[in-house]
Amino acid sequence: MPDVMPEAQVRATEIMAAAGARELHDGEVAVVGIGLPQVTAMLARRTHAPTLTTLLEIGVINMDPKDTPVGLADSRSFYRATCWSGFLDIMGMNLHRGVVDVGFLGALEIDRYGNINTTLLKEESGKIRYFNGSAGGNDVASLAKRVMMILRHDKRKLLNAVAHLTSPGFVGGKSRQELGLRGGGPHRVITDKAVLGFDSDTRSATLLSLHPGIQLDDVLASTGFPLQTPKQIPLTPLPTAEELRLLREEIDPNRVYIT
């Protein structure tokens, strides 16, 4: 098995997991959800960040599941934890206490300032459709030192204005301090096409790297807001052979999340 796989054999979700894992540093504390965020954290733990601490909002620390959970509430995600507690400990005495380095969030929609909507969508007809709401999303967005968003790259998901501002990023381009928020705010957006960051001056989304085989035009066309792009656009590194082996053989052998 070559050290780097030919890109044809690599799935976008595998590139996303590897890109996310690279953003996690050893010794850090991360609030993760089930799905790609957990896969990403697992990959980091089994490679360069063995002492990364993973927190599940429900009250589970350092889960080590042997079977793939279908969600936070699945007993499979309680397996071999080092601590079972609850929201008050995880979200209160850790997240609100200010010791969470990274929070992963999914989204129905995000805007250029990393504001997240997980509550509702407006259909063309004008009809409003409701979804899960915040759960821990607003808490994580308000308080984590770095927020990482993972979502499909689609101009109906990355757009100028979200239908509902569930979880604040740099609202209106304002600094977190101006907004009265403690956490550092949006840090990365990892999609199936690219990795985005946020400009330190404008606080607006900027293109950091394109996944191998993805064209800039494609990304711009799939982005509903003006995206800052550097002259030289680096490629998102492909997962190493070892990363792929871990993802495919150990972390998600049944391809529940690496689809």
């Binding site: 909002e57 969600g71 509430a73 699945d74 079972w84 929201f87 979804f131 709401g133 759960a135 821990g136």
Partner: protein
């Protein structure tokens, strides 16, 4: 002390229409299904429900049309789908639900459990969640304030004290001392904030068993009004250490819940069509199915 061990029907009879009820489940974990079913059988009306993360139990009650107001942090059925009935109700009326976040609901319960009438938090600020709360009937529950010591801006929230808090646990004794296996999300504060506390337990154990691990007693008996012994009382949700969630039945549920037209059929077949939780369990597969779901001890599911 008067006998606390009662049937679900007896206890639910004592819950007036219009009550504020807090159920102890989370998505598809440790839901008070047996309680939700009986609240439906007895057709309790105009209920207010509060919960950090809603799941099947709450989706059932909302779908059955018995809930007037939902105070929620969020919710889903994990990978089995969204809480369709709850979402339809939110679509029908912007005032139906007061949307918060997991932690803000938990802090409101914490305040209630401690007997303080308000608590500060650094969440919801600069979000449309707060704008909506301030613009609607929840305005009387939230206030912005600067910390008198640090000058930092906070949101103050009113304590939540449910009229009745229900919790589903793995073991309890006849006095109501109960112990939970696995994570407890907001259970301790949700229950201790309740003005009445009802425990539904998978196993009814002698107090000697409780005394063996007193540090695991999450709710002490003197706070508990009634104890209901109902094995598989959380089906089709999972109860760690006892049984796994019932994936087939959850899919069947979502197939009914995803459309308003088909939901009543679920209620008719599985709830109104069964006289109690035992009959319900027979309907969904009885002893054979329950044995299939029974947890493997070491792994807990």
């Amino acid at each position: 002390m008067s006998e606390k061990v009662k049937t679900i029907a007896e206890v639910v009879k004592t819950v007036p229409d219009g009550s504020h009820i807090a159920l102890g489940g989370f998505a598809i974990a440790r839901n008070s299904i047996s309680v939700a079913h009986e609240l439906i059988r007895q057709q309790k009306k105009n209920l207010t429900l509060s919960q950090s993360v809603v799941g099947l139990e709450t989706d059932l009650l909302v779908g059955a049309g018995q809930v007037k107001r939902l105070i929620m942090g969020g919710g889903s059925l994990d990978r089995f789908g969204p809480v369709h009935c709850v979402n339809r109700a939110r679509e029908a009326s912007r005032e139906f639900a007061h949307d918060y976040s997991s932690l803000s609901i938990t802090f409101r319960y914490l305040a209630g459990s401690l007997g303080i009438s308000f608590i500060p938090i650094k969440c919801l600020l600069a979000s449309e969640i707060l704008e909506r709360l301030e613009a609607g009937s929840a305005a009387e529950d939230v206030r912005r304030m600067k910390c008198p010591f640090t000058g930092e801006e906070y949101l103050l929230m009113r304590a939540l004290n449910p009229d009745v808090s229900f919790i589903h646990v793995q073991i309890a004794d006849r006095d109501g001392n109960c112990q939970i296996d696995g994570p407890t999300w907001s259970n301790e504060v949700q229950v201790k904030a309740g003005n009445r506390i009802v425990v539904v337990t998978e196993e009814l154990v002698p107090t000697e068993v409780i005394r063996r691990n007193p540090e695991r007693t999450i709710i002490p008996g003197h706070r508990v009004e009634a104890v209901i012994h109902q094995p598989f009382g959380g089906h089709p949700t999972g109860v760690f250490g006892c049984y796994d969630y019932d994936a087939e039945h959850l899919k069947l549920y979502v197939n009914h819940s995803k459309r308003a037209e088909t939901f009543p059929e679920y209620v008719k077949n599985y709830i109104l069509g069964t006289k109690d939780h035992w009959e319900y369990l027979e309907k969904v597969g009885g002893a054979k199915r329950m044995s299939e779901l029974k947890a493997v001890q070491i792994q807990g599911y």
